[in-house]
Amino acid sequence: MAHVGALSGLEELNPGECLYLLAGNTIGRVGFVAHGLPHVLPVNYGVDRDGSIVFRTTSQSVLAGVGGQTVVFEVDGYDEARQLGWSVCVLGTAREITDHDDPTAQRLRELSVVTWAPGPRDRWFAITPDQITGRRLPLQVSPRDFGWLPGVVG
């Protein structure tokens, strides 16, 4: 039985639902700390059957420094028909697999990770999951329905 928050209606997703949602998307965000500052950067990604996340980047990106760090990977979405918002987070250790020859690294590099950003994205990273969590929220009517303008106060 899924846990449902009494006040918020927030429902925790089970691992199967989390993996399903991860597999059904291709853009997520890596949250990490660099130079003492939290960062969140979107990436195209692939997901392995155990929930490992694979993404590519360039040596010029601050993302190329995440090897060995504990990072979080986030995907979210909005299901308009069912008035649901959801998000899935994968917490795990990032490691670079660009030049690794172990069977896991080889398998992960075979995942389809089509990057939209131009240029060679030749640094491959994998996030090995320690914890996968997800939540689903019933949404109220869209704020736009009562004349609220997105983003701007006043």
Partner: protein, 151 residues
């Protein structure tokens, strides 16, 4: 018209415009166990502040007086383009902050999609803001296309 995909670095004016035109973002902070946490939230922009409401919990406990990040993005699957903006600054709990500005902010409110009690007001000062845009070869402007579908 360009025939190559381009990665454009956005200037501050464009970053602020995109930040103000969107209603869902993701706040990132270092959580109780020292690991990063990323959570989607509704927000408003008020001058140099990103403001959000939350119930008591992780966000209320770990944003104030810490360095936090706030991210918004939008992607268009059809032509594989999109943009993202990253804000970095200090979190502050302004639930009980005095002064006209915070009183105005609390009066105006942040419309939230999620039901439930949201008793805390948090802000992030826009200390640093940066952004990127992937421009499709056709030069088409991207539309808002937040996230995926559940089924």
């Amino acid at each position: 018209m360009s025939h190559a995909v381009m990665l454009e670095v956005l200037d501050e004016v464009e970053c602020r415009r995109l930040l103000a035109a969107t209603d869902v973002g993701r706040v990132a902070f270092v959580g109780p166990d020292g690991f990063p946490v990323v959570l989607p939230v509704n927000y408003v922009v008020d001058g140099d502040l990103v403001a959000l409401r939350t119930s008591s919990g992780e966000k209320a406990d770990y944003l104030p007086l810490h360095r936090v990040a706030f991210e918004v993005d939008s992607f268009e699957r059809r032509n594989e383009s999109g943009w993202s903006v990253l804000v970095q600054g200090y979190g502050q709990d302004v639930t009980d902050a005095v002064g006209e500005r915070f009183e105005d902010l609390r009066r105006r409110g942040v419309a939230s999609w999620a039901p439930g009690q949201r008793s805390h007001w948090l802000t992030i000062d826009i200390h640093r803001i940066s952004g990127r845009r992937i421009v499709a070869p056709t030069g088409e402007v991207t539309k808002s296309n937040w996230g995926g579908q559940l089924s």
